[in-house]
Amino acid sequence: MDQYLQDRMEAYLAGDLAGQELKEFEARMERSSDDAAEIAAMLETHSLFDSIRVSPEETPVLAPGFYARVNQLIEEEKKVPIWEVFLQPFMLRRLAFAALMWMFVLGSATLMTDTTTKTNTELADLILSEQPPANYHVRMGSDIDQNRAAMLAVMMKPGE
């Protein structure tokens, strides 16, 4: 758009252009149909602001004691239970992230300190050596496969 028009757009929209300046503005506007169309569209959006503009006479006066009511609201908000903070969307995201991090840390720690393998090895040795552990009552025979199956059945028995 013509720089002259751009520079005076605010004054034009506000109705502050007058005399020679206004004539010059309109003459330049008519020289370009694109500029004229853009300015017409700007006038249209400018007029939309009427829907939210109120004159001081139209605006109702605030009821007395506004600060006291603000203060009361602040005091009420200060009393909000701490757990409600955790229900805020941003807090939920943080909690979910923290939970995931904890799971990762605990999982890593469990894997690093896992003794299951060792225990399994000890049990396998016992089974293979045909010596059932004292706390398992398994009848062992000479067949190693049968012994292992019997051992596993006892180990998987609920409540053992």
Binding site: D7, A41, F49, I52, V54, P56, P60, Y67, L73
Partner: protein, 215 residues
């Protein structure tokens, strides 16, 4: 001090240097710092200084006295709780305006959801009866056009940056002049004019898109 700069044809040749206002040193900044330190009297002064403007902006958007007052209270409660985070990168009034307009958006969003829920709870017959009642027709005719325009404008304003939105609202609704805006923002008048022009171009563009989408 004024400086000469290279200009385009027709552009104002004389421009002011781009001096940023140091909000940290303004008299209002002292008041903000006192409020940040927990001084309730300072906070009260801030509230009393800006309450009318805030209420007027909200009332302009909502046109409902009770709702406007509730939202105004919420705005100041929000200011109270976030004042410690105010870093003087803008003037206090610009920051207050931002919170105010955001609260209005929030309210309108919630109201829209409430309306949808309410309408879904009503039977079709109840809905027709309510729409055709004399009170609703009279009230509706008076407000519909304005509300429609307001909603349309709010949609358009949501398509521009927060800075542009504030400039437009301060210029169009508060009636501040380019000079006053320059004083508040610390930018020179030409920069304000350019920013306003670009913001208006964006509004026009957004309106075009929105109209095409509706069509």
């Amino acid at each position: 001090m004024a400086i000469m700069t290279a200009t385009f044809p027709g552009q104002t040749a004389l421009t002011q240097p781009e001096t940023k206002v140091v909000y940290r040193d303004s008299p209002e900044a002292d008041l903000v710092r006192q409020a940040q330190a927990g001084d309730d009297r300072a906070f009260r002064q801030i509230v009393e200084k800006h309450q009318s403007k805030v209420f007027s902006i909200i009332y302009g958007i909502l046109r409902n006295r009770n709702d406007a007052e509730d939202i105004a209270q919420q705005v100041f409660a929000k200011i109270y709780f976030s004042l410690k985070g105010f870093d003087f990168r803008s003037s206090l009034i610009t920051w207050v305006y931002k919170i105010t307009v955001n609260e209005c958006y929030d309210y309108l969003r919630k109201q829209k959801v409430r309306k949808l829920v309410y309408e879904s709870d009503l039977g079709e017959k109840d809905e027709r009866t309510m729409e055709n009642s004399p009170l609703a027709v009279e009230k509706g005719a008076a407000n519909d056009d304005r509300l429609e325009k307001r909603d349309y404008l709010m949609k358009l304003l949501s398509k521009v940056s927060e800075e542009e939105r504030m400039l437009l609202i301060q210029k169009e609704v508060e009636g501040l002049t380019v000079e006053e805006l320059a004083g508040i923002t610390g930018l020179n008048e030409n920069t304000i004019k350019v920013k306003l022009f670009r913001a208006r171009q964006k509004l026009v563009k957004a309106a075009g898109k929105l109209d095409r989408a509706v069509a």
